[in-house]
Amino acid sequence: MNSLKIKKGTSKHSAYDLRDPNSEIIETHTLAVIVTNESGVLARVIGLFSGRGYNIHSLTVAEIDHDSNKSRITIVTTGTPQVLTQIKAQLSRMIPVFDVHDLTEEGGTVERELALFSVTGKGNKRVEALRLADIFRANVVDTTLDSFIFELTGTSEKVDAFLDLMRPLGLTEIARTGIAALARGNN
């Protein structure tokens, strides 16, 4: 039998290259997934993303209708258009999933995130932090003589901007909720 002679470069593409990140434009979409609020449903959704190699940028979940036992999972994900279509199809065929909305595709979204910032400091830094919080319309929800906790609601970009400003002013801890989103009205 002949030994193997490898011919280089004969194959440009294979089934394993499908999601080559350089081959197509990566888009960011916000999905709203309405699910039955049952044990393990979040694990199913997350398992789908990790098992099939999809990205999750942000994920929030909470019950939205106690009587009909439904929860809303808001997922911000990225991928090529083909991968995004797959994600929606794969989510849709899960048994506890009622509905999948691609809010980005359905005409844009209103997206908000809530964040809590713990800022420690004295003197000018403390004054500056409070002044900036006022500009960003963040609320002070806890205070001691040398610390604040600010509560800020807004887009992720706004939260990021405030985060950057707080860092040099004694930021010690931050908690973010991830994005909650609704489709905009039809006008």
Partner: protein
Amino acid sequence: MVRTITGAEIVVQALIDQGVDTIFGYPGGAVLPIYDAIFKQKKIKHILVRHEQGATHAAEGYARSTGKTGVVLVTSGPGATNAVTGMTDALMDSIPLVVLTGQVPTFMIGNDAFQEADTVGITRPCTKHNWLVRDTDKLSEVIHQAFHVAKTGRPGPVLVDIPKDVQFAKGQYTNISKVDRSGYSPRVKGDTDAIISLVNLIETAERPIFYTGGGVINSGLKATKLLRDLADQTNFPVTSTLMGLGAYPASSNQWLGMLGMHGLYEANMAMHGCDLMINVGARFDDRITGRLDAFSPNSKKVHIDIDPSSINKTVNVDVPIIGDIENVLKETLKLWKSRGKKTNKSGVSSWWDTIATWRNKDCLSYKANSQTIKPQYALERLEALTSHRSDRYICTEVGQHQMWAAQYLNFNDPNRWMTSGGLGTMGYGLPASIGVQVAHPSSLVINVAGEASWLMNMQEMGTAIQFNLPVKQFILNNERLGMVRQWQELLHGERYSQSWSEALPDFVKLAEAFGAKGLRCDKPEDVDSTIEEMMAYDGPVIVDCLVEKHENCFPMIASGSAHNEMIMGDSETAGTISSKGAVLV
């Protein structure tokens, strides 16, 4: 009417109401109440396997050969984890299974109790859906829902995990008719505009082909009939995936044989050269497409599938039709007939001329040998001596023998071919043949096996003996992991790392030790008499057919190659697998 009975009795009642007459299982601590309830009734037959993996494959064989749902009952912990391979296999090949597992009592869950495992957690990715039932009142409803989910839409395995205290407790039984099924109802009817587009393409195509898959068989006998009607009346050629064999009769002139990595030359060339590809219930698997950017470059592609996630997953299609095959083919045929049954007759006629030149290549020819049994020869003789049996069922293990069986055995009816396609599970065939024989006690059930695969679940011979199941184990013994050896030869410089089957048992003595009949055959002239003796014996038989040790399986589309770049035989194998192809499986 609401009745109050124990959870264990609810399980048995729900199975009876679902029409289940056979279950495959293995008892253990956490399912003892259910086994007690089974002991007290006569309607359900329990087949005691020797390993839980065997139970799942037997249930798959049962399901695949009958069109019914296979049912498995195993205990918690190791019982459940041993069933994982079979459930994954069923998920990949869309086989409906309901797997019932025992679980430690609800108050012990999470405490690392004896034989506790997070069964719903472990099986979440390998089932279509699963449930942990904590309330006996909900048990019957969940089991009925489980059967609905397993069989509806794209079929698949489901699992119901039942803690032991839920089995002991009394609860209400809910009849099937009272169960709410609104939560899961996949789309069955195909989009009308898409079906019009398909008919437009059928009417004008010059080089059409039907590329059919396991979905046709899953859709049912009516779908098979409709496919045959549509293909016969259009005179279009038909090829099929490994899973779809039998949906279209191999005896037809329009049959091109299986396609894909070890498919026939004419089938792959026709896929490459067609101008209309009608995918009916197949999924553009990587074993089918070969190199994607060279896959059927000049065709319009139509894809009929009940699972929307199959559409545009790897291959972008021009006309997607989401729906049940039976419904879509019925509407297509109706519309095409009403518009006058038009096809491009001259185009299709010259397409057949082209296909005839490909067929002349005779891609399944092999070098015969008068001293050594070629595996192809053994299967040709098996076909010649058994094809008259319309009740012949074939199972396989996984590897070279599986591909040869798909190439050399002909299937004229659906549900006659049980093989592990998507997952490629060695050890599938013997337990699957047991499941088939349980469903068809008087039929001829043959498991075409390789010795290495067969050893993986050989303990199930005990099951065959216990239940008087006359399964025929036809082992093509090359004392090698044949497909691994072939890839090492082609890809790894003939360094045969760990691909020998050393210290093999004496299969004839092994058969006798189990209480079965053992036959050995090592000369080509003895093959016929061995097969005849195997068929004549009324009981399980193991045939140890010693075949050529270094035979390779051809034709072959090497990894990273396209359909029109097939290797036809040993002389063409030099330098065929590129560095890029080498990383693929």
